[in-house]
């Protein structure tokens, strides 16, 4: 008999959990986000590569539950090809929705994914402003 865990997670969540997209690190990324802490049991690291204001690549490393891994995977998929402005508009609800929903007690994972993304973009903006200043 096939395992049946749908009452916990949607098939989409399970699909991303089984085959997470964009696992890994980017060498010399343009932005890095690092959120979560061991107390809560979720730690996400998100790396982005930005070219001409467009996110061309995104990767993640995550220590966490099924939802943490699936939201990490999903958010990296969602940002690729988006401009920084578009990416900043990705909410935790959008991530959860793209996964066909999350159980209420797991919504904090989608929040973490949004925060990881914001944090990576912030890092990129800080870095690039720094560079702009330097080149001025």
């Amino acid at each position: 008999m096939a395992p049946n865990i749908r009452s916990l997670y949607s098939e989409k969540v399970m699909e991303h959990f089984k085959n997470p997209r964009n696992v890994g690190e980017i060498e010399n990324p343009d932005g890095t986000g690092h959120v979560g802490n061991p107390v809560c049991g979720d730690i996400m690291e998100l790396y982005i590569r930005v070219n001409d204001g467009v996110i061309t690549d995104a990767k993640f490393k995550t220590f966490g539950c099924g939802a943490a891994i699936a939201t990490s995977s999903m958010v990296t998929e969602m940002v690729k090809g988006k401009t920084i402005e578009e990416a900043l508009e990705i909410s935790n609800h959008a991530v959860a929705e793209a996964l066909d929903g999350l159980p209420p007690i797991k919504m904090h994972c989608s929040v973490l994914a949004e925060e990881a993304l914001k944090s990576a973009i912030d890092d990129y903006l800080n870095n690039s402003q720094g560079m702009d200043l330097e080149s001025e």
Binding site: P38, G41, D42, M44, T62, F63, G64, G66, A68
Partner: protein, 388 residues
Amino acid sequence: MKRVYLDYAATTPTHPDVVTAMLPYLNDTFGNPSSIHSFGQEAKGAIEEARETIAALIGAKNDEIVFTSGGTEADNFAIKGVAYANEHRGNHIITNSIEHHAVIEPLKFLERRGFKVTYLPVDQYGMVDPQGVRKAVSEKTILISVMHANNEIGTIEPIAEIGRIAKEMGVYFHTDAAQTIGHIPIKVNELGVDLLAISAHKLYGPKGVGALYVRKGTKVAPFMHGGEQERRRRASTENVPGIVGFGKAMQIAQNEMGTEAERLTLLRGGLIEGLLERIDDIQLNGHPRKRLPNNVNVSVQFVEGESMLLNLDMEGIAASTGSACSSSSLEPSHVLLALGLPHEQAHGSLRFTLGRETTEEEIERVLEVLPPIVAKLRSMSPLLKSRV
């Protein structure tokens, strides 16, 4: 492929003979045991027989057994019952930091209502120190509550020793035996307990039925108020089929306990050894020897428990974790934290609990399946970056 169930500490399948014993009491002998007509008296006879069986097996008298809806009710009954019936004598209760929530939460409730509770620490193996109990007793102490064996890490507590201290100090002593009943021998006099909580679904009996042993003379207020069932100590129409099933399960457990414990101890040893051999950065939680025959609890560093569980589940293996990801709190298991484990190790715990249907092949399968799962998850773990 047949699924592999290694979560017997969470619950067990009802034994086929137990189901057979229960069936007649659903439809044929369905009377209300409080009724004086024959339908009622037949049902009454059935629950009294179950009471006799259970009492005899734990060395108690028949009227010291009160049936409940499970382990949680038995614990609530014992703790709130002693508290309310003895508050004129004192308001202090002693317990420890690794009790089941069924003990901790009633105590938290009582704390909000004016009682004082001492939560004794445990050592790295989860052992309560009997001398620590003795030192904690004050004039106001009315109850000591220490579980017989822990449900997560399997550590068996020194109950008989604490029982002697409790008796010496004249304090009631409760033990939560939900994880030991039917698995290791229990005699209430040898343990020296005044109250003992048990639950049928942990020993191949039905869910929704348990019992509290209450030593004769122990002052306990009822928890469930209403009709006069159970000698006025627990109201509500008795769960006749459940109670009959409980009696049958106890009988079967008693017969098979010795050989089964031996068999499981061997399998458990093989699983622990295999895990430590095949996976790096892993450690056994709980006591190496004084542990339940069927319990394996390990912390796998750098990975989180639920994600291991889900991967195991996709391979058809059912286990459990002390990670909090599936509960509404974000804190991992209070038991693992009480042992001194850092948070990330507590989040990375896995519990395998073995049972009647567990075979060597199943253990072997876990040992094949888990290492690549851990490897896969570690490859995505930010905690392991430095090592990659």
